[in-house]
């Protein structure tokens, strides 16, 4: 799994730094600028749901998750892939990833956001 987490606004400027950060996390290096354009998948959070709550990916296909929150501070966490990001109102976070194993990976909000917090879950489904 290769992933890069970064604010969208400064993506180009910090590409190399972010890639180095991803290297530290994953032990893998991927030069983003050499990749073909990745498919962008937008996931929006609002109390107390993710939209969409089910996302299908293809194994080996690079995607960029564009994450945002419509109301309060949230978290987007995929423990099975060791991915997470804070979702700050007014900002878009991106996670670039290339899933290398098929399977289902739960995601959740891991920043307590109110009475429906426990219901804020979803699933990444990586298909062959």
């Amino acid at each position: 799994m290769t992933n890069i987490i970064q604010p969208l606004r400064t993506r180009r400027q910090i590409m190399l730094a972010a890639a180095a950060g991803a290297l530290a996390l994953t032990g893998l290096m991927r030069v983003a600028s050499a990749n073909p354009p990745a498919k962008i998948i937008r996931i929006s959070a609002k109390r107390f749901q993710f939209m969409p709550s089910e996302v299908r990916l293809k194994r080996g296909e690079e995607v960029v998750l564009e994450l945002s929150t419509q109301d309060v501070l949230m978290g987007f966490s995929v423990p099975g892939l060791k991915l997470r990001s804070d979702l700050v109102p007014g900002k878009t976070q991106t996670i670039r990833l290339t899933p290398d194993q098929a399977g289902e990976y739960d995601f959740l909000c891991d920043v307590f956001c109110g009475s429906g917090h426990e219901d804020m879950t979803g699933k990444l489904i990586v298909m062959e």
């Binding site: 501070l73 978290g75 966490s77 423990p79 099975g80 804070d86 739960d106 959740l108 909000c109 891991d110 920043v111 307590f112 956001c113 109110g114 009475s115 917090h117 426990e118 879950t121």
Partner: protein, 296 residues
């Protein structure tokens, strides 16, 4: 220990005592500091005062019943700890304070007046613990009782489920003052280890706290949050989750969704309860007895 035996016999004869669980490793594993006296305390957790819903049609009656159950113990505990989620969360700061006041009024009916409160995320995560502190004081602290040290760790006032560097530094400094052979009890709300991160049953920097606790030979962690009895070891450190006083939750990872177990009219209050914890001088392990809200 005559008193203790009498109390255990009473629990058994009255049919209210659950299985006695010896916390930690069996046998005289480690040397103990000498000056401890026998005592026991009670852990209550996750009453979620203010919750309404099908998982507990007696939501306003369960906490008072638990208070009555504790008050009916033949021998009263030295003190009581309440490991978080005293109230159910609300966006309305006035309503949050109303729930805390009602909770405090009910808890004040306990015969034992020494009660240590800790916050859960439902109490503290939406206002960084402000309302909790108004009603119950500090969210992390240390105390000692009859030769046993207790430390309450707050892993909920930060909504990211973190203890935070400042509190970890405080913990390090507090621990530096203690004898590593002393019995040490840690009280917190969330598990300090990754029990089920996919269900938010973890503390983001909990491993740092566990690392600080590792040099202590006789340390035990009691927590809440997961609404069920659960026992886990990280190296020599046992971690014990308590039942709740509102609704039980599924065994970690046993079902796709972390939803409350349904109320069973044939067995009301099933899966709810509290526990007594006994610290016996000269014995490394703590003895845990699970107790129901109502006798079966």
């Amino acid at each position: 220990m005559q008193q203790k035996i009498a109390r255990r016999d009473f629990l058994k004869l009255a049919g209210i005592g659950g299985v006695v669980f010896a916390s930690g490793l069996a046998g005289g594993r480690n040397a103990l500091a000498a000056d401890q006296e026998d005592f026991y305390f009670v852990q209550l957790s996750d009453s979620h005062w203010g919750f309404e819903g099908a998982p507990n049609p007696d939501a306003r009656g369960t906490l008072p019943k638990a208070v009555a159950a504790v008050n009916s113990l033949a021998e009263q505990p030295d003190f009581i700890v309440f490991t978080g989620d005293l109230t159910h969360t609300t966006d309305d700061p006035a309503e949050r304070r109303k729930r805390m006041k009602e909770f405090r009024d009910i808890a004040s009916q306990l015969k034992v007046k020494q009660v240590y409160f800790m916050p859960g995320e439902h109490d503290a995560s939406l206002d960084n613990g402000a309302a909790f502190q108004e009603f119950f004081g500090k969210t992390h602290y240390r105390f000692s009782h009859k030769g046993v040290n207790f430390i309450a760790i707050d892993n909920v006032s930060d909504p990211t489920a973190s203890i935070g560097e400042a509190q970890l530094q405080w913990l390090k400094e507090e621990l530096a003052m203690l004898d590593k052979k002393d019995k040490l009890v840690v009280l917190t709300h969330r598990p300090l280890f990754d029990l089920a991160p996919q269900w938010d049953w973890a503390t983001r920097d909990g491993a740092k706290a566990v690392e600080l606790l590792m040099p202590f030979q006789n340390v035990t962690v009691f927590y809440g949050h997961i609404h069920q009895e659960h026992h886990h070891m990280t190296a020599h450190i046992p971690h014990h989750a308590a039942k709740s006083l509102i609704f039980p939750l599924p065994v970690p990872g046993s079902v796709p969704k972390r939803v409350p177990l349904a109320w069973d009219p044939a067995h009301p209050y099933q899966g709810l309860g509290f526990r007594d914890i006994e610290a016996e001088a000269g014995k490394a392990a703590l003895e845990i007895t699970e107790l129901p809200v109502l006798k079966a």
